[in-house]
């Protein structure tokens, strides 16, 4: 049987506020356990929450950027359950009256089409702490540094029909929140976490099948794998005549396995009710207009501008505009390097490959856009060959030296572009290879001739100690060998 895949996402986005949503503790990642947990975060008796205005501002900015209605009166509720990393015994979250109402995001697909994914709502809530099960000899350690970090949970409609679409949406959302500056986007630190709701239905059917929820996926790759895995699992069950159990599942990306965490019957009764310690928050026009005025250029607008301003093609503009930090890096490179196309190629090529290889983000790059721009200048003006450029890049990356021209000088990478000197070298090399010259000149097929030309380049580069401009060598060769 043919199946339609139906996917909805719930995405937890950590907001990049300086302090927590209901206390003045820092939200910085990586501190010693429990050093960023105040009396409020520890839920000490008598302590009370005070809302962080910046979290509301960020949520409203998100709403404006996703074409959403803003909840003019949002209410915090208590979601009650016991867990050691949930200090109050309830999570303060929003339910019926979220800060961001229905909206949408348009995603671009590989075939060039675009698709609208509707957002049901996005609400503000506090993150829980962390339970640490290792290193405590059968006991559990609790780190409450993360407890109270502000989150928005974005809930989509079940509008996606493939892993590709879900990942495209996730990447678009990542691009949006990092461009807005409301999330650092660092998925390795849990800044964005995805829950995926998946169901299958017979192709063309209007009735949705029973869904499962796979929780806490923290990379695009795991998300893609988890969807593929779950679709296959459900398909196997359905094609064997079985039925899907509504349940929450955990996916292990390292093993490509999933297991049931709890079924619908085991689900908690969270006993939501409005938090009496927090008054309803009224958002007025002035607050919304202030948030609107703070909106930076968003990815779609930036993409259009990159095409217009730098003459990039749609593909390059799309890649370079999606990530705010990468876009900024690109513009810094162009500001110094002038040649936008060359800058784009280097950023998508050598630079991105190196970041990926070392699992670094753009922010962690050891080289600056200005340095890469200087490198681009020296490629464009023929000072560097492509192999020389790679050597300069390497030296910049490893921190051997931070100045492009100094590296070229020190390593003797400057190309020889003096035509007279190059001609003399060509004459000398050709004189030493009479058989090959004769063979070349006897060949009729232009393709084969072109290939044979390459045979002279090796000795020429050797003769010039690698510094001869290969483009010029080529021109001279063709001329001297008679076409």
């Amino acid at each position: 049987m043919q199946w339609d895949i139906v996917i909805g996402l719930e995405i937890h986005v950590q907001l990049a506020t300086q302090t927590k949503i209901f206390s003045g503790s820092s939200t910085a990642f990586g501190a010693e356990p429990n050093t960023q947990a105040s009396a409020v975060d520890l839920a000490m008796p008598g302590t009370l929450p005070v809302p962080n205005e910046q979290a509301f501002r960020y949520a409203v900015m998100f709403g404006l950027a996703t074409n959403a209605e803003i909840g003019r009166r949002s209410v915090f509720e208590r979601k009650n359950y016991f867990y050691p990393d949930l200090p109050k015994g309830y999570q303060t979250t929003q339910l019926d009256k979220p800060i961001v109402g229905p909206g949408y995001v348009d995603i671009d697909l590989a075939d060039g089409s675009s698709k609208r994914v509707r957002i049901h709502h996005a609400h503000l809530e506090e993150d829980a702490g962390k339970s640490l099960h290792e290193d405590y000899h059968g006991m559990t350690g609790i780190d409450l540094n993360r407890a109270g970090t502000p989150l928005i949970e974005v809930v989509t409609e079940p509008d996606m029909n493939s892993a590709e679409e879900a990942v495209a949406f996730a990447k678009k959302l990542h691009s949006l929140v990092t461009s807005l500056g409301i999330c650092d986007g660092d998925m390795s630190q849990g800044s964005m976490r995805f829950d995926v709701n998946i169901s299958l239905k017979p192709k063309g059917s209007d009735t949705l099948g029973t869904r499962t929820e796979t929780k806490n996926l923290n990379s695009f790759r795991f998300m893609e794998q988890a969807i593929a895995h779950e679709v296959e699992r459900q398909m196997d069950i359905l094609e064997d005549g079985g039925s899907i159990t509504q349940e929450t599942r955990l996916y292990n990306g390292d093993r490509d396995e999933s297991r049931s965490m709890r079924s619908k019957e085991e689900a908690n009764d969270y006993r939501y009710f409005p938090c009496p310690d927090l008054l309803p928050v009224e958002i007025d026009d002035a607050f919304i207009e202030d948030a609107r005025a703070r909106l930076p250029e968003l990815p779609d607008a930036r993409r259009a501008r990159f095409k217009e301003q730098y003459g990039l093609n749609d593909y390059d503009a799309g890649i370079l505009s999606a990530d705010a930090k990468l876009a900024t890096f690109f513009e810094e490179t162009v500001a110094h390097g002038k040649d936008a196309k060359l800058a784009a190629n280097w950023i998508q090529g050598e630079f991105s490959a190196r970041l990926n290889a070392e699992e670094k983000s753009v922010a962690e790059s050891p080289i600056t856009g200005a340095q890469l721009g200087d490198l681009v200048v020296r490629i464009a003006d023929n000072t560097l060959s492509s192999s020389g450029a790679k050597k300069v890049f390497e030296a910049l990356w490893t921190g051997e030296n931070d100045n492009v021209d100094a590296i070229i000088e020190a390593k003797g990478l400057k190309q020889v572009s003096d035509t007279g000197a190059l001609e003399a070298m060509v004459d000398e090399v050709l004189a030493g290879m009479p058989d090959q010259v004769a063979q070349y000149q006897g060949e009729e097929d232009p393709k084969k001739r072109k290939k044979m030309l390459g045979g002279f380049m090796g000795p020429l580069m050797k003769a010039s100690k690698g510094q001869g401009n290969p483009k010029l060598f080529n021109e001279i060769l063709v001329r001297k060998l008679g076409g």
Binding site: A39, L42, A43, M44, P45, G46, T47, L48, P49, V50, P51, R78, N80, F82, P84, P87, K88, G89, Y90, T140, I142, D269, R271, Y272, F273, P276, D277, L278, L279
Partner: protein, 485 residues
């Protein structure tokens, strides 16, 4: 000295006739010799008290004294006190020493007041008789002469008994459904529950967040005004605490009452009220007429629903507020937990008393899927109706007057097996918390040698008016000066 009011003690200190250290020592000595009869304190913090007294004497020497500088008082053991155990009357917090002060605590410290210790209370402020305390019941100083051990009321029963017994001139209390006014009435002292949001709740251990309010308990309205001057005001740490100017509550105490319009809610003079109590309350109201007030009957048609609504809303909030007592971070933890669930269940089974468990169960039930609309939402609707009743009444009159309790202090143990009869103790006080308005209990006579309280209910933020009315009454009566034998 122990019979003097806060205002009088302040003048003694100001005159230089005695130091705060001497005064504090006298009160501490008396507290230790007398409190065995009442059990009104959970913790006496002598060392901190004497240190505060020395600091107060220095403050005075430096010319920086306030009215409160050097004056002894006590906190209900629900207000967090940095470095001094704060138990909330529970085994759960028997070992809990907070590293921070409640805002109310900090304000009294700033004023230079000397806290002698922490007063007994019903566990987590849940009770009307002070019998649910982990530290044992408090005995009302009234009735002891006849050999009767009567309840002081609750939940601020320790504060009320301590003030009535002259162990301290004043003490803080909290009132969620009557927990300041009812013990004040049963112990013959003056108590005020302010408007919700007038006094910060930060550091005041939560029972029912939308109802809890701290307030003064003293022998005179003037002392209550002096306390409220310290306690009231905006606190950025409590988002339900209202940012509104705080008047000097003593400035208007002497305003004449001529023309004051008093309303008597007919629902509060029902057959639940004993005839002897009613007579005392009506006598008090006649005093007000002599002072120039006019009296008319008004109606609070939804008041009869208050207890039912309250016993949904308050336990619902409490069920969540008390979830943090899980044995993980502070307070009681059961011995040798097998696993997480065992730690939770035994910690809470062993750490909480029966009344607290009863309310957690009721509240959890009311919030459960399938019951939420019928209980919690319905109760919130009733709450708005009750609030509207009061708003309507205050279109006609300035102050409402009623009894505080249906009957005077009862014998310990009399109602402990019948929770509903205990809950009915608060039949005249609970609606006020649901509406969020201020109300006072003022000593207004005796029945069988036991004090009777007059309840005065005001519109939002009318504390100054209530204190003025109470003070004027206390100028022409001496019920508040009577001392238990």
């Amino acid at each position: 000295m122990h019979n003097k009011s806060v205002a009088e003690l302040s003048r003694e200190l100001e005159s230089g006739k005695m130091s705060s250290v001497e005064l504090t020592q006298q009160f501490l000595d008396r507290l230790k010799s007398e409190d065995g009869k009442y059990n009104s304190f959970i913790t006496v913090s002598d060392e901190q008290a004497l240190a505060e007294a020395r600091a107060a004497d220095e403050m005075r020497a430096a010319g920086k004294a306030t009215v409160w500088t050097g004056v002894p008082f006590a906190h209900k053991d629900i207000f967090c006190t940095s470095g001094v155990r704060t138990s909330c009357g529970s085994k759960m917090l028997d070992n809990f020493v907070p590293p921070y002060d409640a805002t109310v605590t900090a304000k009294f410290k700033q004023a230079g007041a000397v806290c002698l210790g922490k007063t007994n209370m019903d566990e987590f402020a849940m009770g009307s008789s002070n019998e649910s305390s982990f530290y044992g019941p408090v005995t009302n100083p009234w009735g002891l002469a006849n050999g009767d051990k009567r309840v002081p009321g609750g939940s601020s029963g320790g504060s009320a008994a301590a003030v009535a017994a002259r162990l301290v001139p004043a003490a803080t209390g909290t009132d969620t459904g009557g927990s300041i006014r009812q013990p004040a009435a049963l112990c013959g002292i003056t108590g005020l529950k302010p408007t919700y949001g007038r006094v910060s709740r930060y550091g005041m251990i939560a029972f029912a967040s939308s109802l809890d309010q701290g307030g003064p308990m003293a022998r005179t309205a003037e002392d209550a005004a002096l306390m409220l001057n310290v306690m009231a005001g905006h606190d950025p740490k409590d988002s339900t605490c209202i940012d509104r100017d705080v008047p000097d509550y003593t400035a208007t105490l002497n305003e004449p009452l001529k023309g004051l319009k008093i309303g008597l809610p007919k629902e509060y003079f029902s057959d639940q009220l004993s005839p002897a109590m009613e007579e005392q309350v009506r006598n008090a109201i006649r005093e007000y007429e002599k002072l120039g007030a006019t009296v008319k009957e008004v109606s609070l048609p939804n008041a009869k629903l208050a207890i039912a609504a309250y016993y949904v809303i308050a336990p619902a909030e409490a069920s969540a507020n008390l979830s943090r007592f899980d044995g993980a971070r502070y307070g009681y933890r059961c011995e040798q937990p097998k696993d997480l669930m065992d730690m939770y269940t035994r910690t809470r089974a062993e750490g909480f008393g029966n009344e607290v468990k009863r309310r957690i169960l009721v509240g959890t039930y009311a919030l459960s899927a399938g019951y939420f609309d019928a209980y919690y939402l319905k109760a919130q609707k009733v709450r708005r109706l009750i609030q509207q009743d009061f708003i309507n009444a205050f279109k006609e009159v300035d102050i409402l007057m009623s009894p505080v309790t249906p009957s005077p202090a009862f014998i310990q143990g009399e109602k402990t097996t019948d929770p509903v009869s205990m809950y009915l103790e608060d039949v005249f006080t609970i609606a006020i918390n649901l509406a969020g308005i201020p109300a006072m209990s003022v000593p207004a006579g005796f029945v069988d040698g036991l004090p009777v309280g007059l309840q005065m209910i005001g519109d939002y933020f009318s504390e100054a008016r209530l204190l003025n009315a109470a003070h004027q009454f206390q100028q022409v009566t001496d019920w508040h000066q009577r001392e238990p034998k």
